[in-house]
Symmetry: C2
Subunit: 601 residues, 2 copies
C-alpha cells in the first residue's frame, strides 16, 4: 500500500536556489560535481531507493531476522537489495576514489542519501551508514596498513562495520566499561568483553564485519580517559598466523576470531535491524589511534551517526506524510464548514477541514524546515575538510553546535510528525495494512540511538555553547544577526524577520541565563537543557525559513514559491510559538525538579 | 518483567480529602457506599487486576487472536480471566441490583475501575466497558421486555456488547451509512449492511454478543436524522420463531442470526482486542428508542466510551511510569553534577540527573492531575442521575463540556507520557523484554478511538462551549472564579492561584475570540479547536492542582502532602507554560491553514 516519491525538486531548490551549494563545492575542489551531476545523483539514488529499497521495507518488518547457533540470517530480499547497492556503488559515494569510492561530497551522502534511504528502508540504511562511519575513522586515524587493507572493502560495501560501545552496566556512562584489551607480541591485541545493543553486530549481508570496539588496556587512567579503540574483524583469513592486518587477506575462514553473537533484542520496530549482544573472547584486534585515546575517535564516528540518526526523523516523517496525504486525498467525510464544495459527491474531501490541514501542514512544514537545515549542515561537513583554515574552522564550530540539535530536534519532531500522520488517517493509521504504523514503530528508536535526546541536549547546553569561549555560538549568531539586519527594512520580510529577531534575542538571553546560573549551579543548565535544545532548534529552523522566504519573495509568480512562502508563514504562526512556553520552562530553573522529594517519586 | 501497584492511596486522598465524595454519594442515595466500603472496593479491584489481569497482558500481545471460519478465538488466558471477572461480579458494579448488578456509583466504575483495568490489561478492559455502555442504553431507552431479557446477561458479563457505527466509507461522517433496517411483521427488523472497526465484534469470551447497530429505516430523512438504533444478537435461541426479544430466551443455537465476521484488522497494538469487519445479512434486531432517533442514544453510549477511552491514557501512563521509575531506581550512570553521591558505587543512581527527574515528573504529575480531574468528573456522572434538578442540570452541563476534553487531553498526554517513559529507559524502553513498548503501541489507539481527538476538539469548540447560550461553560467558570477569589488573599496559595487566574482569564478571552471570529468564519473555530482543547485541559488540570494545593497547605508535616505541593509546583512551572504557545497559535486564526495552496500539499 505504501508509496513514496523522492522529493528531488526540494533538494534542487535548496541546493541551488537557497544555498549555492555548487559554488561552495567547487571551492572545495569537487570539480566533477556540478549542479547537473548532483541533481542526477539525487535522481538516480531516488530511483534506486524507490525500486530496490521501498519494496523490502515491509518484508523486513514482517519477516524479521533468523537467529540460530550464533548466526543471524537476514531476509533474502535484504541480501538482494544490499548486493544491488554494492554492485551499483551506492554505499561508498563519499569514499575516496583510491579506495574505489566515488569521491562525492559528504553533502550527498549525509543528506539526500540519508533521507531517501531512511524513508524507503530505515532498517537497511543503517548497515552502510555504520560502514561509512568506520571507513571515516580508520582512513583518518588508523595506520596505513589497516586503511590499505580494509578501506576498499568498506567503501564497496563487501564488508560491513559496527561500533561497539555499550555494555550491560555502561551506556551513557562509558567510563565504566569492562572490556579488556591485552597487548600481544605481534602488535595485535586480544579483546575480551561483552557489548550490548550492537546494531548490525552479526548478519549475513556482507562477507565480513569490522567491529570498532572500545576497550581498556591495563595500566591506563580510570574513566573515559583510559579507553582505547580497536578494529576487530568478525572473521580472520584462514591462514592468518599473527602480525599486522595486512597479513590478514587470504580467503575468509569460519574461525570467527572469538567474536560471537549470543542474542538479539526483540524490539518494537526496525525488525530487520539486528540489535546484538556481542561477546569478544581473546578476539584479535588492532589499535586505532593512540592507546587510551580512543574516545575522541569513537566520538567522531558517533557524531557522524548522530547526524544520520537525525535524518531518520526527517526520512520517516516524509514517507509518513506522503502516505497520509495520499490517504486524505481519497477520503471524503463531512462538508466544508463554509458550504458544500463537491455537490456531486456524498461528502467533501477531508482536505477542506482546517484540523486536517493543520495536521498535514505541521508535518509538511516541519519536513521542509528540517530538510533545509540538514542541507545547510551537509555542506559544512565537506567544508570541515577545506584547505582554507578559516572555512574549516567555521565549519567545525558549526558542526559541533549543530550535531546535537539536529539529532535531538529532527528525531523529536520526526516522531511527532509520524504520530500526526497516523492521527490524520484515524483507524487506518493504526492498522498494519496502511504502513504508517510501521513508520511509527521504526522511527521511535531514533530518539534513543546514538545518545538519547536528553544526552544531546546536555551536550549542547553543557559543552557546545561554552566550548572555546562560546566560539561555536558566535559562528552561528554572526550570520543570523547579519541576515536580520539586512532584511530589517524590507517590509515584505517583516512577517518572517521579526519573529526570527525575537527568537534570536530570546536565544541569546536564555543562553546567558543558562551559563550564568549554570556557573553557580550546574543543575540549572541540566534542568533547562532539553527545552533549550528545542528552543534552539526552532530558532535555527526559523532562520532557514526566513532565508527561504527572502529567496521566494523575489520569484512570486510560481506556485512552488508561493507554497514555500505559505510554509514559512505556517511555521512562524503555528509551530514557532512553542518557544514561548519553552522559555518559561527554562526560566523556572532546577527547583521544581531537584526539590521534589526523591522518595515520593 | 512488568509490575504495577494500584495507586489506592491516590484515590483515598482525592475522594475523601479533596472532593468529599462520600458526602455527595450519600446525598444521591448511595447509602451502602461509604468511605470504607468504597476504599475496600478499590482495594479489592486493584488486587484482582494485579493478580488476574496483569499476568495476561503480555500473553495477549504475543499470542493475539485466532481467526478461522468467521470465528475469533481469544487466548485461553483471556477467557479464564474474563470468567473470573464474571464470577466475582467485577463487570456489573454500576448495574442495578434488580439486574444482578452491585448498584455501585458510576464513579467507581468510570474512574478507579477504568484506570486499573486499562493499566493492567487494556485489551481486556474494553469488553466489559462496551457491555456497560450497551447496558446503559437499553436500560434507559429500550422497551421493558428488551431490558428484562438482556440487562441481567449484560450486567453479569455472561453476554457481551458492542457498538456498530463505522462503515467503510463513513466514519466521522455517519450520516452516510448504508446499513438498512427493514421492518418485519412481528415488530422486529431485518438489518443488512457492513460495519468496520467493530471492537469485540466477534469473540468467544461470552456466550453471546449483543450488537447495537446504527441503520437506516427506509423513508427517513437523509443524514444523521434518518438513523435508527437496533439491538442485534449474534445468536438467537434455537427455538426462536419470531416476535419480541422476550421470546428469545431458550438455549443458544449456532444459527448466527445472519451476523458474521469476515475479518479482523492487523493492528499495531492491543493484539488481543478484536477489531472486526461485521456483516449483517437480514439479521433480526429490535429497535431501541424512536425510529430515526438513534443517533442521540448511540451518542450517549459513545460519550460514556469517550470517558473510558480518556482513562486509557491515564491507565497506560500510570503503569508505564511505575515501570520506568523502577528501572531508574536500579540504574546507575554518571555522577551527580554537584558532586559524587554514592562514593561506594561506581556511579550514582540516575535519579540524581535533572533531565531524568524532569521526564519522570512530567509523567507522575500528569497522571496525578488527570486522576484528579477524572475523579471530579466521575461523581458528576452519578449526579446526572440526581433527583435534585439543579444538581442534575449542573452535572449534565459539566459532563457535556468535560467529555471531549477528557477524551482528547488524557489520551494526548497519556501517549506523550508513555513516550517519555520509554525515553527515560533508553534502549531498554524500545526492547520488548521490558514491557513499556507494548504500552506505547497499545495506548496509541486511544487518540483515535471513539472519535479522533481532532473530532473531540471540534465537539468542544463548535458545540459544547456555545450550547444553551454558554450554559456548560458558566457551570465551570463560576466555581473556578469563586475559588480564585477565595484564595486571592492567601499568600501561600499565590504560586498556584495566580497562574490559574491567568489561565482562566486567557480561557475566557480565547473563548470570546473563538466565538466572535467563528461567527464570521467557522474555520476560525475549527482552526483553533485542537489548541483550544489543549489549553482548556491545562486550565482544568490547573484548577485541580490549585484545589489540591489548598488542601495540602493545611497538612504540611507529611511527605505525602509535601509531594503533592511539589507536584502542583512542577505542574505550574513545567507543564502549564505550554498554554502561552497554544494561545498564540489560536490567535493566528485560519489563514495559515486555509490559504495554503491545496495543490501544493
Amino acid at each position: 500500500m505504501v508509496d513514496w516519491t523522492p522529493p528531488n525538486r526540494e533538494y534542487d531548490f535548496l541546493f541551488n536556489e537557497v544555498f549555492s551549494m555548487t559554488e561552495r563545492l567547487q571551492k572545495l575542489g569537487f570539480e566533477g560535481f556540478d549542479e547537473e551531476s548532483i541533481a542526477m545523483m539525487i535522481e538516480s539514488w531516488g530511483n534506486h531507493a524507490r525500486e530496490v529499497w521501498l519494496p523490502i521495507n515491509e518484508v523486513g518488518d514482517k519477516e524479521g531476522l533468523g537467529f540460530e547457533g550464533g548466526k543471524i540470517t537476514m531476509p533474502d530480499a535484504f541480501k538482494d537489495a544490499y548486493r544491488k547497492g554494492v554492485k551499483e556503488g551506492w554505499f561508498g559515494t563519499s569514499c575516496k576514489p583510491e579506495h574505489g569510492g566515488m569521491g562525492a561530497p559528504l553533502l550527498f551522502q549525509s543528506v539526500p542519501w540519508s533521507e531517501y534511504g531512511t524513508s524507503t528502508c530505515m532498517a537497511l540504511s543503517v548497515f552502510p551508514a555504520l560502514s561509512a562511519g568506520v571507513y571515516e575513522v580508520i582512513t583518518e586515524h588508523a595506520e596505513d596498513d589497516i586503511t590499505d587493507t580494509y578501506a576498499p572493502l568498506l567503501a564497496s560495501g563487501e564488508w560491513a562495520g559496527t561500533m561497539c560501545l555499550t555494555e550491560p552496566h555502561a551506556g551513557t556512562d562509558l567510563g565504566m566499561i569492562k572490556t579488556k584489551a591485552m597487548p600481544n607480541e605481534d602488535g595485535s591485541y586480544s579483546i575480551t568483553g561483552t557489548k550490548i545493543y550492537i546494531t548490525a553486530g552479526e548478519h549475513d549481508m556482507a562477507d565480513n564485519i569490522l567491529h570498532l570496539v572500545l576497550a581498556k588496556v591495563p595500566g591506563g587512567p580510570s574513566g573515559t580517559k583510559g579507553i582505547s579503540l580497536f578494529l576487530v574483524p568478525k572473521l580472520l583469513n584462514s591462514d592468518w598466523s599473527g602480525g599486522r592486518p595486512s597479513m590478514n587477506t587470504g580467503s575468509l575462514s569460519d574461525s570467527i576470531n572469538g567474536v560471537s553473537c549470543s542474542g538479539t533484542e526483540e524490539k518494537m520496530g526496525i525488525h530487520a535491524s539486528p540489535t546484538c549482544v556481542m561477546n569478544f573472547e581473546d578476539s584479535i584486534g588492532w589499535l586505532v589511534g593512540p592507546v587510551h585515546g580512543g574516545m575522541p575517535l569513537m566520538f567522531q564516528m558517533m557524531n557522524r551517526e548522530r547526524l544520520a540518526t537525525g535524518m531518520m526523523g526527517l526520512g520517516l516523517s516524509e514517507i509518513a506524510y506522503q502516505n497520509a496525504l495520499s490517504w486524505c486525498k481519497d477520503r471524503r467525510q463531512g462538508r466544508d464548514l463554509r458550504g458544500v464544495r463537491d455537490p456531486n459527491e456524498e461528502a467533501d474531501s477531508i482536505l477542506v477541514h482546517p484540523d486536517v490541514r493543520r495536521m498535514l501542514l505541521e508535518c509538511k512544514v516541519n519536513n521542509e524546515g528540517c530538510r533545509a537545515l540538514a542541507s545547510w549542515t551537509g555542506i559544512l561537513l565537506d567544508e570541515m575538510n577545506s584547505e582554507d583554515k578559516e572555512t574549516a574552522d567555521r565549519a567545525e564550530a558549526l558542526i559541533a553546535l549543530l550535531t546535537p540539535i539536529i539529532k535531538a530536534h529532527f528525531t523529536d519532531i520526526g516522531c511527532e510528525n509520524v504520530d500526526t500522520c497516523m492521527q490524520v488517517m484515524g483507524g487506518a493509521g493504526y492498522c498494519s495494512e496502511y504502513g504508517v504504523e510501521q513508520f511509527y514503530r521504526d522511527v521511535r528508536i531514533s530518539k534513543i540511538w546514538e545518545g538519547t535526546n536528553g544526552i544531546q541536549a546536555l551536550d549542547l547546553a553543557g559543552r557546545k555553547i561554552t566550548q572555546d569561549f562560546g566560539k561555536n555560538l558566535r559562528h552561528l549568531l554572526w550570520p543570523m544577526t547579519d541576515f536580520i539586519e539586512e532584511n530589517r527594512k524590507n517590509a515584505e520580510m517583516a512577517e518572517f524577520n521579526k519573529p526570527l529577531h525575537q527568537g534570536v534575542k530570546g536565544l541569546q538571553q536564555l543562553t546567558l541565563l543558562m551559563i550564568s546560573s549554570g556557573m553557580a549551579n550546574p543543575n540549572f543548565l541540566a534542568s533547562g537543557a532539553t527545552d533549550y535544545c528545542r528552543y534552539f532548534g526552532n530558532v535555527l529552523i526559523g532562520y532557514m525559513w526566513a532565508r527561504i522566504a527572502s529567496v521566494c519573495l523575489e520569484k512570486k509568480n510560481d506556485t512552488f514559491y508561493e507554497a514555500k512562502l505559505a510554509s514559512a508563514r505556517f511555521f512562524f504562526q503555528r509551530i514557532y510559538p512553542e518557544t514561548f512556553g519553552l522559555a518559561a520552562r527554562i526560566q523556572s530553573g532546577p527547583k521544581p525538579l531537584m526539590e521534589y522529594p526523591t522518595e515520593m517519586f
